[in-house]
Amino acid sequence: AQTVTQSQPEMSVQEAETVTLSCTYDTSESDYYLFWYKQPPSRQMILVIRQEAYKQQNATENRFSVNFQKAAKSFSLKISDSQLGDAAMYFCAYRTRGTYKYIFGTGTRLKVLA
């Protein structure tokens, strides 16, 4: 069975600094997707970034980028130039290609300090 692990329950970062959130996963599948979702307080989860396992190039979306290490089964999220609006719960998620089910990690709560 697939699992997703986020080992950092909480992280803090100073405004304008860079922070990296960790995620590891376990699967025997070779074709899958990985996602980072952001959930601001009392709001819905919003997709931040997505990575297809067959793509070697790390995905980037503006200030958000990932470090995808397929062999190590690691998928970390880097947030550059952190802003107050980045404060949220961040969930790492996995989905095997061809299925509908997301498998989530427990989340990392990010605090951004002014």
Partner: protein, 114 residues
């Protein structure tokens, strides 16, 4: 930007009662999902639904649960006889198509069973 909406935001019910949680997916989306998150635990997949049929379900989704798209806009989750352990946040999600598209989540309904 279109969003998935859910009502109510908080539902309190007594053990043994039936409860219906409602969702309005994004209008051009064809695939619908329910997830739940028990307090302090991971977000877990319950069911996916397409073309008026369940396309995938988890072992959590037993005979006590059912889903329906009663009209062109709503998607519902019914729990027939609620138990204390059904207390959780329930998230609805939708996607344009199936397994290659990311899912868009609603803000959740907090269900409290007393």
């Amino acid at each position: 930007e279109p969003e998935v909406t859910q009502t109510p935001s908080h539902q309190v019910t007594q053990m043994g009662q039936e409860v219906i949680l409602r969702c309005v997916p994004i209008s051009n989306h064809l695939y619908f999902y329910w997830y739940r998150q028990i307090l302090g635990q991971k977000v877990e997949f319950l069911v996916s639904f397409y073309n008026n049929e369940i396309s995938e379900k988890s072992e959590i989704f037993d005979d006590q649960f059912s889903v329906e798209r009663p009209d062109g806009s709503n998607f519902t989750l019914k729990i027939r006889s609620t138990k204390l352990e059904d207390s959780a946040m329930y998230f609805c999600a939708s996607s344009e198509a199936g397994t290659i598209y990311e899912q868009y989540f609603g803000p959740g309904t907090r269900l409290t069973v007393t």
